[in-house]
Amino acid sequence: MIHSLFLVNASGDIFLEKHWKSVVSRSVCDYFFEAQERATEPENVPPVIPTPHHYLISVLRHRIYFVAVIQSEVPPLFVIEFLHRVVDTFQDYFGVCTEAAIKDNVVVVYELLEEMLDNGFPLATESNILKELIKPPTILRTMVNTITGSTITAEIQGVIDACVKLTGMPDLTLSFMNPRLLDDVSFHPCVRFKRWEAERILSFIPPDGNFRLLSYHVSSQNLVAIPVYVKHNITFREGSSQGRFDLTLGPKQTMGKAVESVLVSSQLPRGVLNANLNPSQGTYTFDPVTKMLSWDVGKINPQKLPSLKGTMSLQAGASKPDENPTINIQLKIQQMAISGLKVNRLDMYGEKYKPFKGIKYMTKAGKFQVRT
């Protein structure tokens, strides 16, 4: 039924292709590009384009054309609805459906497409079934391969702090959507360990007030999704007393949540006398004694990425510094746990009244270093 799928961006580049039967050459999309050129507006590309051997049926969403290649007569509503389902699934998995998100998660995209169609026929398209088969990427699966290179190591240390103000002897059970994430945990003494072992449920009678219910550790065995990326270009030239400094930050895989309280610091080489930089947002300071550069970025706006650019002046006559500065980044993301851990429900037994319940997720950078 559906032979192949091509994803085309607004400027007419194919950035992903998937074939379910044999491989169809990209040149079949030339007919689509012709129509794209003729259309004055991106949405004016007709949804069905006949070619000598195939039909191209496309939907346009989020400025991406999803072009299905069809070899025989099909019900058009069927294909169009299916393509929309594909887009909905991507959105469900990655929070947003953009070219960047699809490219970042290309392997998950491939797995999804393989699961959604077999031999060109729809197989599993329901969100809950798919999520059983393929875990969404935030759960430690995203492969980090940023422009600046690969992640050397990353891990997550998390805690669950509780604030309980309940009268009497409430017996609480807390369950997670995805308890299997937690492989290295330490509990508050009130937690019944047997229950956790058997059912992966936290069952406990809480002490009053604030306490740390659980701390956990997610190791780098499964790579951790890094919420921001750094593009940098820090160079010193031999024989010149000038150096260039160029740094841009951008968010990624934050499920649409804002990255806040971003603070960048970097220990510049000894030879640097002063830095004359220009931040696109926030303020920066350079301490000439400790050679510490710090830049208070604040919130990252994905539409306008923060950058810090300018020159560094070096001691006259000194040779080119041979060490590369490391960049440390502090950040916070509200309403999201980068591990993907999610609380399913909290129930109370043993008392008659109805408790007030609430949960707050937060991600904070621990020690986030970028080598240059």
């Binding site: 580049d13 194919i14 950035f15 992903l16 292709e17 998937k18 074939h19 039967k21 044999s22 491989v23 990209r26 259309a39 004055t40 507006e41 949405e43 004016n44 007709p46 949804p47 069905v48 006949p50 039909y55 049926i57 496309s58 939907v59 346009l60 007569e73 099909v74 019900p75 058009p76 509503l77 069927f78 169009i80 609805e81 299916f82 393509l83 929309h84 290309v106 392997v107 995209v109 491939y110 797995e111 393989e114 077999d118 031999n119 026929f121 729809p122 197989l123 398209t125 329901e126 088969l133 492969m143 065995q221």
Partner: protein, 723 residues
Amino acid sequence: MPYLGGDDAVRELRRALSNPNVQSDPLRYRNTILKVIRSMSQGVDVSGLFSEMVKACATVDIVQKKLVYVFLCSYAALNPELSLLVINTLRKDCQDPNPMVPHHTRYPPLVEYVEQPLTAGLRDRAACVRRVAILGWAKLYNLQPTSEIDASVVNELYSLLRDPDPVVIVNCLRALEEILKEEGGVAINKPITHHLLNRLKECDVWGQCDILRVLQRYKPQSDDELFDILSLLDASLVSPHPPVMAATLSLFLHLCPDLPAVSQAALERVRGPLLAACGSASREMRFTALCHIQLLLRSLPGLMGAHYKRFFCGYAEPAYIKQRKMQVLVELVNDENVVMLLDELKGYCTDVNADTAQAAISAIGRIGRSYSDRCLEILTGLLGLKQDHITSAVVQTMRDLVWVCPQCSDTVCVALEGCEETLQDSQGRQALLWLLGVYGERVSSAPYTLEVFIDGVRSEASLGVKMELLTTAMRLFLCRPAETQDMLGRLLHYCIEEETDMCVRDQALLYYRLLHCGIEETRKVLHGPRSDPSLGVLIGRPAEPISQWASSFNTLEPLRQVAVETESVSRGSPEHVTTDLSVTLSGCRVHDVRSGDLSPSPALSPEEFERLWLQRQEDFVRLEERVRCPAVPHCSPQSLQAAMQLLNIQTLAFTPPHALPWRVYLYTHTQHTHSEDTLCRTLILGELLLKVTLQQQPRDDEALRGFLSILTSVLHTLTPESE
């Protein structure tokens, strides 16, 4: 766009995959495999890594295994000899106690090696394994369609149609459809039909669509059974999922072709869901729904009458939707809503998109055939805007309109004054010239306008304009000789002496020689065809029987016609061009029926023809065939008629050019010597539309085929004449 540097990337990946250090580190190994998949998604040909990837298959990491099988399924067909390497792992995986492992293998088509795991897969306890194993057979068959698929497998697949898992059932249907393609697909009998219908509700949207499509082949044995089936399907007919709704309606139309009342009731029932789909958030869905509504309107013109406001265009809608909506609006016009509709269409005439604006103007022109005064008022008003593309479209629309409604010509003649200044494109100028030629005596400034054209003929680039200019100058000369004689002389001189294009030069020479023959001869030739108001009877589109379009419902057909219609923008003057008759020769076998076997006598009167045409059904054999010439026969109805007469086919009636659908009615008698001496005479009635519909009495298939082949070859020979 070839991926540059693909070779290097593949070489690098091969090195990494075969590096023992990488192989011993699971994380790095898996990362390298991810890179292979990533390259695949970029369109790099990584089939060269087959043998390296085969080794990566032997792993406990289920994600890695899955990705390797994704790779193997894509390239197994290209590397049959290397497939042997993977078969042991595949066999082991297929016996894995965790059903997810065989599920993820997807049974790459590895020819004979995979048959045994596939057979086991069909009997697996886990539904997810059975699902993919079934399609595995279809893949295997696709790879070598010549080889016989074991009858026992087919039987096993048939028995799996009764599986408890709905996806297994649907996949079985899909696989059997592919495997038994030669035999016409899966055999549908009464028990299977009823079983599938009962399980329909359990399937997902996609499965329901496929089941409904396969069931189209079923013929109920009795009326009771038919009505039982229809009442089972009633709920799906108003399904909130447009694909299911469309598939159900299509099945309805296939099940009861002989019960027009039932089909009609079904059409009325889907009105709500179809209108809802027209308001869907997805523009592609809206578009498809609109196209299907157009089909329904062919049989039930009144179906959407009350809902005409649903087809008003939104500001930000894509051009292809707006143009479709306008086509629907033209169909829905009536005495009550005409004012409002025209007001709405008037708003679209100034759309930023030139195509949309022109479509709106020609839609007004179409409505003008029934409500000419109001429309002409709007069209004349639009000329006041002095916009190049609008003026051009208006002049073309007026040209088409006066051909059908000659009574409009007075208003048009007044409106034409002064619009030559705004006209830029050749289509518009051609239309203006044609109008000047035909109504020259009534447009006072016609000679002056023509003079401007003639003075500029040296810099004229368009061939069409030059040809039209010659004809116009000649026509104007006939009715206003004193004013035109001098400029006609100059034009002919230029065209004969200096013009480099042979067509123009020949045309000029023809006219020059024609003038030598005398003015009466010239008049006879040039005042050829005038529009015939008597053909107006055929304008109002009669309601077609549902069976005309039932087979194209829920296919790509109704969507495709747009492409034909929107491309037909380039048109010439009405007497030269009939509307797009897109006809091809599709596999028409040539029989040795010569035109000598046909005869137009005894003559058939139009009334007689109509009576015979409408009585049809019982004693007439009916044949519909799509015949399509890539380029439309750019010939006048007269030349078509002449060509047909040459072959003893009598044409009886034409619609006016530009009427949609353009059609011709024709008839002939065949005499055909069958075996030795039995002479068979049959009468063939034909309608030439986008397809040819023939009726014959009495039945004689061979004669009918022969006639069709003659007809198509006539249409074909007419095509290149105009090019």
